[in-house]
Amino acid sequence: MVPDPVLTPAGLEPAFDLQAYYPALVYAGVVFALAGATLFATHLPILKPWKPTRVKTMPYESGVDPIGSSRMQFDVKFYLIAILFLVFDVELLFLYPWAVIAYADGGDPTWRAAFGPLVFVEILIFLATLGIAYVYAWRKGVFQWR
């Protein structure tokens, strides 16, 4: 039995129904099964060749030495690259919803007629702004790995 929809300030929305959330349960099951299977497989002698070296037995095999002072200095260029990466990562994050919503089938025709061209121009402006940031970073020598 599906409960009646409820009126929220955002409009008419379906009421909370626990049955609708069964994919979350399935997902949790898959996660636990995968974790268990991995643990099990790593202890199977056939699947697990055992050739220990000093580096291989460290908790993070190809990472930072976990023992010692944590106040080590990192070169600032790592941060610059990380920030630049974040900027363009978030750019993509913005582009996906725009691409999906603005031109999807079944959208509101009034909405699309009013906003379609406007939002397209706005996205272009957004991309141009990031392009300027890219040019700025480039000219200032952020991409030179010194």
């Binding site: 509101d108 406007l118 000219r139």
Partner: protein, 520 residues
């Protein structure tokens, strides 16, 4: 029916693009400056481009018609009614003055970046005045904060400069988090991010506060968080402690900006969230029918002005002194917010919000004027840090000393200056609040405390004046050439006098900008 299929809403949204054209122009010029900065950019070129950008934005603002008679509540994220126009012109004029002031701070290799950040910050202030949505309001506030971090760091690579930039960055981020936390409660209570819907639904729930305990505490928590978050911006006690350190270490031109722009943004945002300064108020959600929020604002105002003035008495460093003086003036302005947002005005003649807007204008002129004089006097070979460094300025630099003196007289609140008219309006608005509410005669007590504070503040301003004119100069006269900072200082001082002698047209504008909300 979803809200998006509503034709009126679509019209609101598409129309709101034209109401931000000047801000778009400012940001566009900022982008251009960043591009120029990627090549080579000289100091005069950056300044001229930035000034042209501000003038261009002003021309666009004058040309694009703003709706005058539209009073139905807008659903769009941008609402050009109410105080929007006033705040925009305030931001544009301030930006022009700051570009001139920036001459002192752009001796480094980054003049274009400096001016670009300045323009973005000005656009942010202007957008705060017209934001009609919790989201656009927060974005506008961040548009002001984020360039300020860069600005604090760019000109001064000294230890103190870096400390002040870091301090401001961390505390500003914290205050933004607190503010967002408050916004989340407001959204939860109203079910909408639209400011009008938020205010009117809170106001509609207000009469039932006693019956429905589920609504009232949450609304109070939300507003306390908002007051805390915006309290950082306006440097209200107990959120003031960053101000003296940041002012002391920061570059003078940026400090002048920090003393004014966040105050405008913070107070306008606070007033909007409390239900005033828009052409179609949805009622006052926190009026004197309940004393919790009015009393909170009352205490913050009293503590802010008293602490600011008392601690300013102890300062020797000029920038620290002006930091505490700014805190004290923030306390006076909080009176305006308190009166406007809690006590429905009896008549259209005196309301707290137009007194607040007028005081913001007056405070901006006199404080920025004073900082402009400091920026003019300091140079690569000369630092004006302490009060004693100003000794005998009346003889060595008569024009700069005169401009500083006018600003100081105005900060004291002597007649014929802008500070006097502003204080008079604020104190009158508080004094005339009826005493038959639950706040009893607390507003009158507040006025008395404020007047006593204004008298106390005269001590440290007069001390500077005495040093200026009565003491002999330590060093022989150093002829300083006319600089853009001096032009800015003289312009601010002259405007202070004009505002003090003939306040009528400006008072009219503030009255138009802050229409009186009908009593519930």
């Amino acid at each position: 029916m979803t809200p998006l299929s509503n034709q009126a809403f679509v019209d609101h949204l598409t129309a709101s693009v034209q109401f931000v054209l000047p801000e778009v122009a400012l940001v566009g010029v900022a982008c251009l400056l960043f591009l120029v900065a990627a090549l080579r950019c000289s100091r005069p070129l950056a300044m001229v481009v930035a000034l042209l950008g501000v003038v261009g934005a002003g021309v666009i603002a004058a040309l694009v018609p703003e709706p005058v008679g539209r009073f139905e509540p807008s659903l769009a994220p941008i609402d050009p009614t109410g105080a929007a126009s006033f705040v925009r012109w305030l931001a544009l004029v301030a930006a022009a003055v700051y570009v001139l002031l920036g001459w002192a701070d752009t001796r480094t290799d980054t003049p274009a970046e400096y001016h670009a950040c300045l323009l973005v910050a000005a656009a942010g202030v202007s957008l705060v005045g017209r934001a009609n949505d919790l989201v656009s309001l927060f974005l506008a506030l961040e548009m002001l904060s984020i360039p300020t971090y860069v600005l604090l760091y760019l000109p001064s690579r000294t230890r103190a400069g870096q400390e002040s930039a870091m301090k401001y960055f961390l505390l500003s981020v914290l205050s933004s988090a607190v503010l967002l936390f408050g916004f989340s409660y407001l959204y939860g209570l109203a079910g909408s991010t639209n400011l009008h819907v938020v205010v009117s639904s809170l106001a509609a729930a207000a009469p039932h506060k006693d019956l429905d305990p589920a609504v009232s505490p949450l609304a109070a928590v939300a507003m306390v968080l908002v007051i805390a978050g915006l309290g950082f911006r306006v440097a209200a006690v107990p959120f003031h402690f960053y101000a003296p350190d940041v002012y002391e270490g920061g570059p003078t031109g940026v400090v002048a900006q920090l003393a004014f722009l966040p105050k405008v943004a913070g107070f306008v945002a606070l007033a909007r969230l409390l239900g005033v300064m828009s052409a179609h108020g949805g009622g006052l959600p926190y009026d004197t029918a309940h004393t919790l929020i009015p009393l909170t604002l009352w205490v913050v105002a009293v503590v802010t002005m008293s602490f600011g003035n008392l601690l300013a008495l102890l300062q020797d460093n000029l920038k620290r002194l002006f930091a505490y003086s700014g805190i004290a003036h923030g306390g006076y302005m909080l009176i305006g917010v308190l009166v406007a947002c809690t006590a429905p005005p009896a008549s259209a003649d005196q309301s707290g919000s137009d007194a607040l807007l007028f005081y913001l204008l007056a405070y901006g002129l006199m404080t920025v004027g004073a900082f402009a004089v400091l920026a003019h006097l300091s140079g690569p070979d000369r630092h004006v840090e302490t009060v004693d460094d100003l000794a005998g300025l009346g003889k060595t630099n008569p024009l700069a000393a005169a401009a500083l003196a006018v600003c100081l007289f105005s900060l004291i609140g002597l007649p014929l200056t802008a500070g006097f008219v502003g204080k008079l309006q604020l104190f009158l608005a508080a004094f005339q609040v009826p005493t038959d509410t639950k706040m009893k005669s607390l507003f009158q007590v507040l006025t008395v405390i404020a007047v006593v504070n204004a008298a106390v503040s005269a001590v440290y301003y007069l001390r500077i004046l005495g040093v200026l004119y009565l003491r002999a100069p330590f060093k022989p006269a150093q002829p300083t050439r006319t600089s853009p900072q001096l032009v800015a200082a003289v312009a601010c001082a002259a405007a202070t006098l004009v505002l003090g002698v003939y306040p009528q047209p400006f008072a009219e504008q503030t009255r138009k900008a802050a229409p009186v909300v009908a009593a519930r």
